[in-house]
Symmetry: C2
Subunit: 299 residues, 2 copies
Amino acid sequence: MEILVVGSVALDSVETPHGAVQDVSGGSALYFSIAASLFAPVNVVAVVGRDFDFARINFVNQRKINIDGIQVVDGKTFRWGGRYYQNYSKRDTLYTQLNVFENFKPVIPERYRHSEYIFLANIDPQLQLEVLRQVKKPRLVVLDTMNFWISGKPVLLQQVIKKTDILILNDEEALQLTGQNHLLTAGRQILKMGPRYLIIKKGEHGAVLFGPDLYFSAPAFPVDKLIDPTGAGDSFAGGFLGYLAKTGKSDENTLRKAVIFGSTVASFNVEDFSIRRLQHLTRSELQERIKKFRELTRY
Amino acid sequence: MEILVVGSVALDSVETPHGAVQDVSGGSALYFSIAASLFAPVNVVAVVGRDFDFARINFVNQRKINIDGIQVVDGKTFRWGGRYYQNYSKRDTLYTQLNVFENFKPVIPERYRHSEYIFLANIDPQLQLEVLRQVKKPRLVVLDTMNFWISGKPVLLQQVIKKTDILILNDEEALQLTGQNHLLTAGRQILKMGPRYLIIKKGEHGAVLFGPDLYFSAPAFPVDKLIDPTGAGDSFAGGFLGYLAKTGKSDENTLRKAVIFGSTVASFNVEDFSIRRLQHLTRSELQERIKKFRELTRY
């Protein structure tokens, strides 16, 4: 079954203790779609400027990634610069140049509208609502957001959350959204806002899946060579939703496994800058690590 | 098989968002022995002042806890005061009155010396070494320590660590001990200091067990009514070592299960002030939560 993602394609500049890269491929929609395409076909909606060289993502032809929905408009591509410090627990945004993203109006191409699985990557909730108006009867809507929208557009965000099946947040966002200071309390409160399920990502501490009478805790895969965490959240979402789309199921056991697949895909993503690792990730490498994952929690 | 614990018996005053208590029963040896005695007989070595009313721990008669080794000396019992804040992630020590603990010299009674399992609770590494000199061929030595000894007595601490089978630290202590800023790197480095296994406790994020080719991650049990985290670490150690002593095994599968038992016992401890919850904890309540624990990680 097919997945639709609406989000950003960006040129990132990233500094980490392991080095620095400039104007490399990034953006939520790109990370997500590479991850999800390991499992199912992905339809991408985003926007880039005329400066964007599509040759840098020509690998999409070998994957089931459809990029017809990427609009090319006058102006420069969205650019983001960030810096990570020694223990990677803190990230500073050095700059955000919205550029063509500033006037982005997502238009879902006709042949995308039947997509059963929708990932609303982290963009203005106003745009996320517009996406939902354009799609036909999706089976599952998965939503990401960030602190900027939680504080900046709380009313619109709540409208999107109400239409969401599965909300994915990190720990700080979950606390901010609820004004709570305890993740368990925050998680339960968020479920009352509408979504059937909630995933709270905790970085190196793994992820927790909340549902009605469900609390599932998955560790992060211990990564030896942590290089660049950029895109880890979107890779997680891609592995998670990709697995659901592949199996066509969304019962609790499948959701638990999907969290493990998401975590595993994300653990590869952080092993290199930009999309480099995901781009060359094979199904058999993934399967091997999925097996190792079981050793982490078996008892 | 029998367990020997050497540590503190204290009178604690604790303030939390849920209330405050004054001069209640506490101390590492007390928390540990109540937890461990759910599984195996425990021999306690500690010191109290003449002001200590043994009636407050007369429940030890119903448990397999031997307190012959608690010295009663002139002076006042060790007192500790602490305060927890809204999200319980931060704790301030308000005061530490060592009192009789200042001149404590652990003497292991003859009939304790055959104990197969030793828990060196968090005391001066000099004293921990003296304990090890007095015991006969223990099967397993488990060590706890804290930031104060890591920075204050690093050389002596290294000597104890070399003689330790399983070291238990929290995340901050593991980073401090190694000067690293990544838990995975820190964990591996600590294994090179001597111990066969290492447990790093991460509070609400659970615990990780490191060994040669072993990395096991256990979540914390999600506690609805977090009241007072004091003694959680020692309760964990008690459940952990108690389970090992009960089974008489220390293979990797048993160690994994022991971590789950430790986490589960600790999850009860934090549900009330002082030792109140542990004191009345039954084997059947424990077993019920152990079953629920599996639901947390099953996939």
